[in-house]
């Protein structure tokens, strides 16, 4: 099968959906013909679809998402880009109070089919305002769907589902994943929300991960295999809906679970998954739940500082060994 990058996979999803449905349009800062997106995801799309549908905006995050809400409830399917995940804080009212609640508050009258795409993740030395992982904020908001794809295949399939759906989707990407290659079929497909994917089968320990951490979990699993430990890697793919069944199913099989997430440990994704295990699979556990997450600090700049806070393979391997 052909291989393309995560970035190209996202671009293909946007291009195919824009060709398929004239209601789909893009808006965001520097996404148009002059820059093509800070991470080049939208590069070339303005040339094909024009400046009206690939719309550069002023630096106004709240109005970018608000405009997407207003357009979505009046028949369009906007895809808004927020240049860095940290900057979603500027648009939080429009995401959490407007997009997420507009259907519910109005008794189901509104359909709000919009996508907000943004990159999270540390590792490129751009410090505290451009590096944090804030997925947990959004999985805490009823009314939103949250995607966290780790591969080009999932990124393309989930983005197509997100654009075609009828609800607001918060679509998390990861800066380090953009150049990562993976197999993506040329033919049409979508990936449904709420269905996790077992990226590697194993019998001894379940490692639950998302986004870039899936790759670190897979590398760790490879190394642990040499030491006789069989690791199963469950990639959640979406945090809302959360595929609880897949987590429970894997834990039933292995009896041990390590949760790996790039966000801060306190109040984060890993805590929610640990709670699911505690509520629904406690009887199957042969060892305590372990979490590998960032410490509760902002992301620092200097490379040795930054590397210190990002969960790495060493930490994952240590956690796995602690439970087997």
């Amino acid at each position: 099968m052909r291989k393309i990058t995560y970035r190209e996979a996202l671009r293909e999803a946007l291009r195919e959906e824009m060709r398929r449905d004239s209601a789909v349009f893009l808006l965001g800062e520097d996404i148009g013909r002059y820059w093509g997106g800070a991470f080049k995801v939208t590069d070339g799309l303005a040339e094909e679809f024009g400046d009206a549908r690939v719309r550069d905006t002023p630096i106004s995050e709240s109005a970018i998402v608000g405009a997407a809400v207003g357009a979505a409830i009046t028949g369009m399917r906007p895809v808004a880009e927020i240049m860095f995940g940290d900057l979603t804080a500027l648009a939080m009212d429009q995401i959490a109070n407007q997009a997420a609640k507009i259907r519910y508050m109005f008794g189901g009258q509104a359909k709000c089919p919009l996508v907000v795409r943004t990159p999270f993740g540390a590792g490129v030395n751009i410090a505290s305002h451009h590096s944090q992982s804030l997925e947990a904020w959004f999985m805490h908001v009823p009314g939103l769907h949250v995607a966290v794809p780790s591969t080009p295949y999932d990124a393309k399939g989930l983005l197509k589902s997100a654009i075609r759906g009828c609800d607001p989707v918060f679509f998390c990407e990861h800066k380090l994943l953009y150049p990562v290659e993976g197999e993506v079929p040329e033919e049409e497909y979508t990936v449904p929300f709420g269905v996790a994917d077992v990226k590697r089968e194993g019998v001894d320990v379940t490692v639950v991960a998302t986004l870039y951490m899936v790759h670190k979990a897979l590398e760790s699993a490879k190394k642990l295999e040499g030491e006789g430990v069989s690791v199963e890697v469950v990639d959640l793919r979406t945090l809302a809906p959360l595929d609880k069944q897949a987590i429970v199913k894997s834990v039933k099989k292995t009896g041990r679970v390590v949760i790996v997430s790039e966000d801060c440990k306190t109040g984060g994704v890993s805590g929610e998954i640990a709670a699911v295990v505690a509520e629904e699979a406690l009887d199957y556990l042969d060892a305590p739940v372990k979490r590998v997450a960032e410490p509760d600090t902002p992301i620092p700049f200097s490379p040795p500082l930054e590397q210190y806070v990002i969960p790495d393979e060493k930490a994952i391997i240590k956690a796995v060994k602690a439970v087997v």
Binding site: S62, A63, G66, G70, A71, R103, M105, F106, G107, G143
Partner: protein
């Protein structure tokens, strides 16, 4: 227009009365005193045009053509209300008449109106959006972001600032160093117009100009309507921060009485016709109250519905 303006007043008086009888859960923000604005603006709109509204939104709904029964039922939290009891007084919407809903976050409706305007432009229809907000909202960042973008993209949006002089209890002079919000239009390169918000014909005329400009594709206008709440900010507010003399002065400029006098003077309506309208409106409101009172509350577990649309396109 007289019928509409009167309907809003009598509706709000009835809501106030029901609140006093403990029949309205939560709080209410009455539009009484500001009726001329919603009616003056919406009298220029088609059913397919959009409006966005605020926590003080009953008047916007009625002016856009919402059904009184379903509006009253929503305020009472009933299943037959516009939002099946999920929204209440601060969140009424009727998408079938282009009423895109009331948001209770001050200033949050402006970007949504911007988006509806963008949608119109992309779809190439002749619709437009009227965006209602208060002078307090004009101090939010969303005001700046939305007017700037709407102007840059020449979107068909009419921004209607209802300046009732107080953001909750904070007098305008404590929150900004200008007298006219309309002056801010200059910062976006769009027309800004101050109008007597208690004069329905003046509002109608100003809105007509803005609507014409928007439909011609020339972009947004900021209209500032000077007005005054007849009551406090919300039901619990006796509005003691307003000087007595100021209150008296504004009460003498009440939009309903002024419009009625003008209609009579111009022989547009006779006294008999006016009292006939008044009787009809009162009966309509009584029917709305009866409908709302007799309607059931939603079943508690309906709280779990309408979070997601779910179904695929």
């Amino acid at each position: 227009m007289y019928r509409k303006i009167l309907t809003i007043r009598l509706f709000e008086e009835k809501v106030y009365e029901l609140y006093g009888q403990n029949l309205v859960p939560g709080t209410i923000h009455l539009y009484a005193g500001e009726e001329a604005i919603a009616v003056g603006v919406c009298s220029n709109l088609e059913k397919t045009d959009y409006i966005t509204s605020t926590h003080r939104g009953h008047g916007h709904c009625i002016a856009k053509g919402a059904d009184l029964k379903r509006t009253m039922a929503e305020i009472l939290g009933k299943k037959t209300g516009y939002c099946k009891g999920k929204g209440g007084s601060m969140h009424i919407a009727d998408f079938s008449i282009g009423m895109l809903g009331a948001t209770a976050v001050v200033g949050a409706g402006l970007p949504i109106a911007l988006g509806a305007g963008l949608s119109i432009k992309l779809r190439g229809t002749s619709q437009l959006v009227a965006c209602f907000f208060g002078e307090g909202a004009s101090n939010q960042g969303t005001f700046h972001e939305s007017l700037n973008m709407a102007s840059t993209w020449k979107l068909p949006v009419v921004f209607v600032c209802e300046n009732n002089l107080y953001a909750m209890g904070t007098r305008q002079s404590l929150a900004m160093n200008i007298e006219n919000i309309a002056d801010r239009a200059a910062a976006y390169g769009i027309p800004g117009k101050v109008v007597d918000g208690n004069d329905v014909l003046a509002v109608h005329e100003a809105a007509n100009e803005a609507v014409t400009r928007a439909r011609r594709g020339e972009g947004p206008t900021l209209i500032e309507c000077k007005t005054y709440r007849r009551k406090g900010h919300s039901r619990v507010d006796p509005a003691k921060y307003r000087p007595k003399k100021e209150v008296e002065e504004w009460m003498s400029r009440d939009p309903i009485g002024r419009f009625k006098d003008r209609l009579l003077q111009a022989n547009s309506l006779t006294k008999t016709e006016i009292s006939q309208i008044e009787n009809e409106v009162a009966a309509e409101i009584e029917a709305a109250v009866k409908f709302a009172m007799e309607s059931p509350y939603p079943a508690p577990e309906e709280a779990l519905e309408d979070v997601y649309a779910q179904e695929e396109k």
